[in-house]
Subunit: 452 residues, 2 copies
Amino acid sequence: MIQNMTENQITLYIIKALKENKQKELDAILDELQPYDIAQIYADLPEKHRTRFLLNLKIDLLADLIQELDRDEQFKVLNKLGLERKGQVLDEMDNDDLASLLDELSPEKMASLLSGMKIEESKIVQNIMNYPPETAGRLMTNRFVWIRDYYSVRDAVDKLKTFAEFAETINYLYVVDNHRKLVGVVSYRDLLIADANERISNIMYERVIAVSDTMDQEEVARMIERYDFLAIPVVNENNVLMGIVTVDDIIDVVIKEANEDIEKLSASGKAIDFDTKAFVAAYRRLPWLVLLLFIGLISGSIISGYENTLQQVVALTYFMPMISGMTGNTGTQSLAVVVRGLAVNDLDKKSIFNLIMRESGVGIIIGVTCGILISIIAYVWLGNPMLGVVVGSSLLLTLIIGTLAGTIIPIFLYRINIDPAVASGPLITTLNDIFSLIIYFGIATAFMHYLM
Amino acid sequence: MIQNMTENQITLYIIKALKENKQKELDAILDELQPYDIAQIYADLPEKHRTRFLLNLKIDLLADLIQELDRDEQFKVLNKLGLERKGQVLDEMDNDDLASLLDELSPEKMASLLSGMKIEESKIVQNIMNYPPETAGRLMTNRFVWIRDYYSVRDAVDKLKTFAEFAETINYLYVVDNHRKLVGVVSYRDLLIADANERISNIMYERVIAVSDTMDQEEVARMIERYDFLAIPVVNENNVLMGIVTVDDIIDVVIKEANEDIEKLSASGKAIDFDTKAFVAAYRRLPWLVLLLFIGLISGSIISGYENTLQQVVALTYFMPMISGMTGNTGTQSLAVVVRGLAVNDLDKKSIFNLIMRESGVGIIIGVTCGILISIIAYVWLGNPMLGVVVGSSLLLTLIIGTLAGTIIPIFLYRINIDPAVASGPLITTLNDIFSLIIYFGIATAFMHYLM
């Protein structure tokens, strides 16, 4: 029946079951739903039914539900549970999800939240919290299955059966030695095909691809993406198996990192989405805008230095927006290529050299093309061939410099370990504004007596 | 031994084995490597060893290798194989990978490539090629395991064992009725825990989350991300199971879509990476720049319309870069919020209304803040209070309009089914340039006799 019901129908059905206290029907329908669906239905439920709904959820479904919610909602739900159930739910949660829930909590609040948990579970979470944010250690879960190399395939399958409910993924079984060092990996598939009496050490891969627990999450994402893995083991500096990172968390990392690149490139402010309040969004966007306001005034003071030039040839102002706009654009184009390129490539000296040579080439080609084009247009429009030469040669130079600025600045930042995306679009644009005005008015002033 | 060797050492070892013709040692080392590693080693091999290396690879490793390469390299490798081995490799490749290899080939070339394949395999690929690009149908693979609802758990496990090598993922077994309609799903984990004599229909989930074969790939990615699935089934309009989409392809989709958003926001041109040649990159970037050159000239002609105003108060030009820069920036900020928001949200009438109201609020707050700030600065700098009022009120107005333009234009494009990211950063920036100049000079001209 349920397979053809819409989300609305399911919600109504659940409200009815709640009202009539039909636990069995409730369980039957909840059993068919995915965590995401349960969270959607919870969000759709009228406030007055929510507490009763939570009361009727089993611990594992509560943990599933909480993992799907936003932070604020997570705390709301946890506070509606009694102390005992809260502890049970926290025990049940995936420990990477729990770690991100605890993130940014004050030490007192964290301690109070963890106090209801089993000691061994809360210790694991606290260990995870000791890793710096955005590292493999923070993303990893301990809910995986490890086996020993002397196991037979039958032993391994037996262990798997016992832990199947507990493990976050059962695609790979990691093989450790008696010091918990990672020595091999066996896929589920390998177990299926192998003879039940075969020793694990005979069928395992010995060249295990693993990541270090302090590795940056972007690097971990790159590994999983390259190898098409469903999970990757995390080891410490002694090659001791600490946990695994699963592909579903990596998808979230990839989305988050791409959004961060876009936020920084557009200086659109941290974490503004459709639900952010106007005041908060304005507050997050303002710092950049105010900074850019002052940088914009530098352009203004440069222009004011050329007051005489301008007063004599007002037509020079006509080309100001075009020149600074184009220079800003080509810089942003280069910047985007570098920033996204860094998301998938490592950057050694050779590739930096090649990239800068490439972009020099690009700058010269587009500079020459656009420079010739605008010379002709300026001449036809204003009938002054010298003005055409001034505008065209300025554009040629500014496009080359703008392209290189958009390339070299982010590479330089990357080399000194600053995220190159902070050299955001608007910053490059505004810097290029300044360069372009200096070049344009410099050339114009030099040729002044030809222009008059 | 191999587990501690670096990539370089492995490459050298392989060259040695190739030279000395030690097939057994070669096989042993290749057996431990991941497809990505084999591709890296192939790329590192000197040209003279490559053909022999390919000759020594078994068909399945050849297929793995080819799936890791760029299109150009894929064809190079295929052409080095004989006709017979080429067909065998194509048969072995995942059919979604094969489909993207065939993409954009001329019909003759495609037919010649497919001619060496088994008829049933080439038919499957041709079916996939019939779907529009970037749909679920294009991404799906037929290498999955289906079972019937009347099977016992033992039957299912037996079938799984037979197909374990063939299937791209074995996490989920999809249950179909006698018309191949999708009626349920059983996870591998469920099979492990269940009694061997249990009927599949008793343990399967009946509410299967599936996607339509014509669904856009971005939507498919959203489903997999929401549900944390490792694969999702693809059905046609009659609910007949056509294939599955696996999470590794979805990671590639997420990265590709994010890169496309960034390319369009920065108008950086399609598919430029670190390896693109300067001439090609310039060619891809030029169309936008030339378009923006002409739009920039519109700004110029607006300014030329206010020649008299400018000649009388040259100081007005000092604030031009700041005003147009700020207006461009706030527009780009709004645009980025909308474009990325659309990647994770659906947009109904209510949320459009809310978003526009929010951004109006943002525009007013940043407009008032920056407007007051610049009024004071302009007054202090040039000692003319009226100039402060003109510049400040212009900035107030242009920031509000700029913010709304960056919001409304992409939403409008989205509603008429044009990708909103084509309203790219530079386009919004340049439009906002024009708006800001009209407002600024309009206000200045109106207040002219107070400014003198």
